[in-house]
Amino acid sequence: MTTRLLRIGLAVSALAVGAILALSTGLSSSAQAPGGISMARPAAVPRDALGHPDISGYWELRYDSRNVPPASLTQDAASKEAEQRQHDLLAIRFCALVGMPEVMEDGATLDIRQGPSVIGMLAKTPSSVRYIYTDGRSHPAKDEIDPVTNGNSIGQWEGDALMVDTIGFSDRGITAIPGGGFRTPDSHLVERFHLLNGGALLSATSTWDDAQVFKTPHTYEFRYYKVPEISYPLQYGCSANDQDRANFIMSAMSGTKPE
């Protein structure tokens, strides 16, 4: 009887140790694979009140954030590159609202805030706030849409990925697209946002479609790093009446050195 009780005690303790080990292994963010190679397990990402991943935060692009292949441009688009460059320089020179896709890569911290019905994106460069409506609405009818530099964006969650569909761009602001080409009022942009590394990285894959500009849809990916608190996200100052600044910018168009 004594031996039997001892065996029960040992069995219970073995089970306890096993359970605790299994539990702790399961909760840790990484585990050892055979051969000692560390296998990263997906860490939990922050989530909003509706259970979707929460992409709110301050995000920045770094030197290793861009995966941008060259775009395959139509002959017409290739022939308009100089014209488009002049257009964009004028927009910069006169402090115009830069619009998409410049707001997503202006070099400064991008502030993203996610609510249950709308997601806002705020860049530091002179620009409108970018709104992505996630309340289930559709795009307005084509004849009712008021083109704006950021376009009209609607989003929906597919699992843990936010799919954003944008049309209705104006022809103003900085129109250049990473990798080549430019947006037009007929451009269609599809973006896929999803968090990586437990929310430390935000992947944004953009696919531009515009038969006037691209032979085939042009896709590239940015990976933003999450940064902690920043100073008050003020907009950069911009004075269109600063003649020295104007000369500096516009001399690039004529190929001359700034005066």
């Binding site: 009887m1 004594t2 009780l5 001892l6 029960i8 005690g9 219970v12 303790s13 089970l15 306890a16 359970a19 605790i20 539990l23 702790s24 909760l27 989530r47 909003d48 009140a49 509706l50 259970g51 929460d54 709110s56 002049q86 257009h87 004028l90 927009a91 020179r93 006169f94 402090c95 115009a96 609202l97 805030r113 996610q114 609510g115 249950p116 019905s117 709308v118 997601i119 806002g120 705020l122 409108s128 706030v129 709104y131 609405r137 307005p140 008021d146 704006v148 530099t149 950021n150 009209n152 104006s170 022809d171 103003r172 008050y232 003020l234 907009q235 100052g237 004075s239 269109a240 009446n241």
Partner: protein
């Protein structure tokens, strides 16, 4: 004590340890807590495009002043009289420029203006813009206001705002208004119907959805012993523009005709 009794106690102790270990594990703790969604979804979502409800004032200035008259100090009344006299004499255009040291934004004017407010509410911040423009950020993440140096560095006409929910009401506390603006007509920021706001002013706003979420009520309470004899209180109602989309103002800066006009008057095209 017999070996048998020891073994039984040992088994019970190990089993109890297992139970406690499971209970205090992160997994156990997580399941014991209320889901985050319950706490967050308890606050109303005031996101949307909101148009200030004008009862029919006739023009914007009349609407701006269509609130109860504040009780103000005599020196503030004199400031109002002097400014009004100057404007009545024809000084209707500000000549103060818009240099880099000028405060940007104007909270009391933005909250009263005809372009609709565009609100994005998230967990830690609420943004209030005017149409597609950027505007105010109300921090709801529990932070405090910056210190005096931090407030001065903001140099913002919308001050620094922090907010919290009291039931279904968002209570917003704002300080850090600029001592002076670059507007030569009104060097000290104007508040509806004769009030003023400056670096010593404290604003409390109470935002609440009404009429089933079709309207947003905002009550403003301005306090400053160097301006007001008692708190200046008034309310606005905003109507929801369902499925509304913000418009973007401005001219095309690449328009050659506009560029020629701009060159003709030595400035930039308006946009």
């Amino acid at each position: 004590m017999t070996f048998r009794a020891n073994a039984r106690r040992w088994s019970i102790a190990v089993a109890a340890f297992c139970l406690v270990a499971l209970m205090i594990s992160p997994k156990g703790l997580k399941s014991a807590q209320a889901p985050a969604s319950q706490a967050s979804s308890a606050t109303p979502d005031i996101s949307g495009l909101w148009l200030v409800h004008d009862p029919g004032s006739g023009d914007w200035s009349s609407f701006f002043d269509n609130v109860p008259k504040p009780a103000i100090l005599p020196e503030i009344q004199k400031m109002n009289d002097d400014d009004n006299t100057r404007v009545a004499a024809g000084s209707v255009v500000s000549t103060g420029g818009r240099g880099p040291n000028c405060p940007t934004g104007n909270l009391p004017m933005m909250m009263a203006s005809s372009p609709p407010l565009n609100i994005v509410e998230s967990k830690g911040e609420i943004w209030i813009g005017s149409e597609a423009n950027r505007g105010r950020i109300i921090y709801t993440d529990g932070r405090a206001h910056p210190d005096a140096a931090g407030l001065k560095a903001l140099n913002s006409g919308v001050g620094h705002s922090i907010g919290h929910w009291e039931g279904d009401t968002l209570v917003v506390d704002t300080i850090g208004f600029p001592a002076r603006t670059c507007d030569t007509r009104w060097p000290v920021m104007r508040v509806p119907n004769g009030g003023r706001a400056k670096d010593t002013t404290h604003l409390t706003e109470r935002f609440r959805l009404i009429n089933g979420g079709k309207q947003l009520s905002v009550t403003f309470t301005w306090e400053d012993p160097t301006i007001y004899l008692k708190p200046h209180i008034y309310s606005y109602t905003y109507d929801l523009i369902e499925n509304g989309l913000p418009l973007e103002g401005g001219n095309d800066v690449t328009d050659q005709d506009l560029l020629k006009q701009a060159q003709g008057r030595g400035g930039a095209p308006r946009y």
